[in-house]
């Protein structure tokens, strides 16, 4: 993962190792090879090659039964994923972007998340749902949501937001091995990113990425910057800037939003005594609120300053570049928040 500017972070790599997109594709390929119960379905995953080209080439390699184009019927094909999982398969369902997942929310919340409990443990739903999330490409109010933190409210689901190429490559296997429904959120701004080097912040656990557990992406002593997914590059860049004037920021990448790895967050705050949460979701009711609340509850006496949140402005994301930029968390915003906590 580039720790430099946002521009560097979106450069697509050739000599820089695989991109996030390529890593996702390789993970899919591996899963389809490894287990014949695995199949991929969603709108345009096949002939089109995937809305964001993640599944490009897989139809040709695995055929239309296992790389299955669906009609525009989000509720039906997500629910069919649930049914196929109950029927013994290991479906990977792609929803083009998180906004469209609202059409399938009944199936996700009322069925996928509840069937195990409601049946007294007789059934489990080993389903993986992948979707793109996030803003930053001027796609406006119906294509720019960051709802992964919102999904993390729902018991019965696992929510994962890989932020690095290594995580993108590694997380699918444990997600498929998990007997419960897992929602994987891929931030659109990350598809073209590469991890800088084998010892870069994303490569701390290249072989076996776990489904849960946060990762410290950069150690530090003065303030904990807690983030996930598409905000990791911004947060790392802010840490870099803070370092320039002598503030040592620790960057924690949550990776799993449900369950939350509270221990890693609390341990960091107990070291740094200051917390800034960076979250692309809208501020009120954000995952950042949950992180701040847990720290206030469990590390209250360790905190030397009020917790800070850097979130998106509470506005449906506007199209115009300057307005969209103003709506999203920025390096400046993170730096300023961190300075307030140490100031």
């Amino acid at each position: 993962m580039s720790t430099g500017t946002a521009a560097a972070a979106t450069t697509s790599g050739t000599d820089r190792g695989p991109t996030y997109r390529e890593a996702l594709r390789e993970a899919l390929r591996e899963a389809l090879h490894a287990d014949e119960r695995v199949f991929l379905m969603g709108e345009d995953v096949g002939r089109y090659g995937g809305c964001f080209a993640v599944s490009l080439g897989l139809l040709e390699e695995f055929g239309p039964d296992r790389v299955r184009d669906t009609p525009l019927s989000e509720s039906a094909f997500v629910g069919a994923g649930i049914g196929a999982a109950l029927g013994g398969l290991r479906p990977i369902v792609e929803i083009m972007t998180v906004n469209f997942s609202l059409l399938a929310l009944d199936q996700i919340l009322n069925n996928a998340a509840t069937l195990s409990h409601m049946s007294g443990g007789q059934f489990s739903v080993p389903l993986v749902v992948r979707m793109t999330t996030g803003a930053g490409r001027q796609l406006a109010a119906q294509h720019s949501h960051s709802l992964e933190g919102w999904y993390a409210h729902i018991p019965g689901l696992r929510i994962v937001a890989p932020a690095t190429v290594a995580d993108a490559r590694g997380v699918l296997a444990p997600a498929l091995a998990c007997p419960d429904p897992v929602l994987l959120f891929e931030h659109a701004g990350l598809y073209g990113t590469t991890d800088d080097a084998p010892d870069g912040p994303g490569a701390d656990d290249p072989a076996g990425v776990a489904l849960d557990g946060a990762a410290v992406r950069r150690p530090g002593t003065d303030v904990s910057l807690v983030t996930y997914g598409g905000m990791l590059p911004t947060t790392l860049a802010a840490a870099e800037r803070l370092a320039e004037d002598g503030t040592s920021a620790e960057v924690v990448d949550l990776r799993s939003l449900r369950p939350l790895d509270e221990e890693t967050v609390l341990a960091s705050v107990r070291r740094t005594h200051r917390l800034v949460v960076v979250d692309e979701g809208w501020r009120s009711g954000s995952l950042a609120a949950e992180v701040a609340a847990r720290v206030a509850e469990h590390a209250f006496y360790d905190l030397d300053a009020p917790p800070e949140r850097v979130c998106s402005a509470e506005v449906p994301v506007p199209y115009a570049a300057h307005l969209e930029r103003a709506a999203l968390p920025s390096v400046d915003g993170v730096v300023a928040a961190a300075r307030r906590t140490v100031g």
């Binding site: 199949f39 039964d65 669906t70 009609p71 019927s73 509720s75 039906a76 094909f77 997500v78 629910g79 069919a80 994923g81 649930i82 049914g83 196929a84 999982a85 109950l86 029927g87 013994g88 398969l89 479906p91 009944d106 199936q107 009322n110 069925n111 069937l115 195990s116 409990h117 409601m118 049946s119 007294g120 443990g121 007789q122 059934f123 489990s124 080993p126 018991p155 019965g156 696992r158 091995a177 998990c178 007997p179 419960d180």
Partner: protein, 327 residues
């Protein structure tokens, strides 16, 4: 008429009486608050339970609604497990987590008990997809009401199943009402089989008050579905004699309408035919009812004696528990 057919009709009658008497007892248990929550009775619709669910093979799957006591009993879910569930006991078929609306039984491929109208259809399509992809020669019967036909999920699922030629039998229990809303106020086109046919699948309507007709139609449909060219749709024309749920004062139906439909009571109807055909006499009938009532009493005693789940287990089953098996 051969002995087999005669036995068979007697079985249909016995099955219906079992469901009927069970639910009548449930009403009593509800009034004394031993059963709580929402409870929906299928009294009047038993011909669908015995004719349709009874025609399935053990390997087939069933996806049902909150009005599923009859489907579960006919499928073979033990009566004591159903009652224990409604009593909230650990031995309930959903370990007390589900209640009347959420009966489950993995061993019998009974996938609930879905209380979101239309919410079971996508699951049934997925079960059918799993069967198709693994070339299993089984069918998934998906039961839902006339009200569900208005939901978007109905449309998406019929198209998907037809497009992918999945072995799903869509079974619409058209009892002419969705809660208090009559068919004519739910649907611009009330011929539901015609609507389903527009997705390019065989679809027809059956007298849902006649268990033999339901069974014959189901067998015909299953032959098309199982390993066949795709899904089928059956509209079972039926009627619920009771209110929508125990909460419902039933203000919206004409008493005369109910009385008219009661003339087609599926239990009375088959009972009368068996008497007329000499396949049953009054003594046989009395014995049948007594046997059913004994089963109900026994089930109730078993359920009543069962323990509840320890409250410490509240958080169990939110996720699957480790089994030691490879997933």
């Amino acid at each position: 008429m051969s002995a087999t057919v005669a036995d068979d009709r007697l079985d249909l009658l016995r099955g219906m009486v079992r469901v009927r008497r069970f639910e009548e007892r449930c009403v009593e248990l509800y009034s004394t608050e031993r059963i709580r929550g929402f409870m929906h009775l299928c009294i009047g619709e038993e011909a669908v339970a015995v004719g349709l669910v009874g025609a399935l093979e053990p390997g087939d799957a069933v996806v049902s609604t909150y009005r599923e006591h009859g489907h579960a009993l006919v499928r073979g879910v033990p009566m004591s497990a159903v009652l224990a569930e409604m009593f909230g006991r650990a031995t309930g078929c959903s370990r007390g987590r589900g209640g009347s609306m959420h009966l489950f039984d993995a061993a019998r491929r009974f996938y609930g008990g879905n209380a979101i109208v239309g919410g079971g259809l996508p699951v049934a399509v997925g079960l059918g997809l799993a069967d198709a992809l693994t070339a299993r020669p089984v069918a998934t019967a998906c039961l839902f009401g006339d009200g569900a036909v208005a939901e978007g999920e109905f449309h998406e699922c019929l198209n998907l199943a037809a497009l992918w030629r999945l072995p799903v039998l869509f079974c619409c229990e058209n009892n002419r009402y969705a809660m208090g809303t009559a068919l004519e106020r739910e649907h611009a086109e009330t011929d539901l089989a015609l609507r389903a046919a527009a997705y390019g699948m065989p679809a027809w309507a059956v007298d849902g008050m006649d268990p033999e007709a339901v069974r014959a139609a189901t067998q015909r449909a299953l032959a098309l579905v199982r390993g066949g060219p795709g899904p089928c749709f059956l509209e079972l024309r039926t009627y619920r004699f009771r209110a929508h749920s125990m909460y419902d004062p039933d203000r919206y139906r004409d008493r005369a309408e109910i009385a008219r439909w009661r003339e087609h009571d599926p239990v009375d109807g088959l009972h009368a035919r068996l008497l007329a055909d000499g396949e049953l006499d009054d003594e046989g009938w009395a014995r049948l009812v007594a046997e059913v009532d004994a089963e109900i009493r026994e089930a109730e005693a078993v359920a009543e004696a069962a323990p509840v789940e320890p409250v410490e287990d509240l958080l169990r089953f939110v996720g699957a528990e480790p089994t030691g098996e490879t997933p």
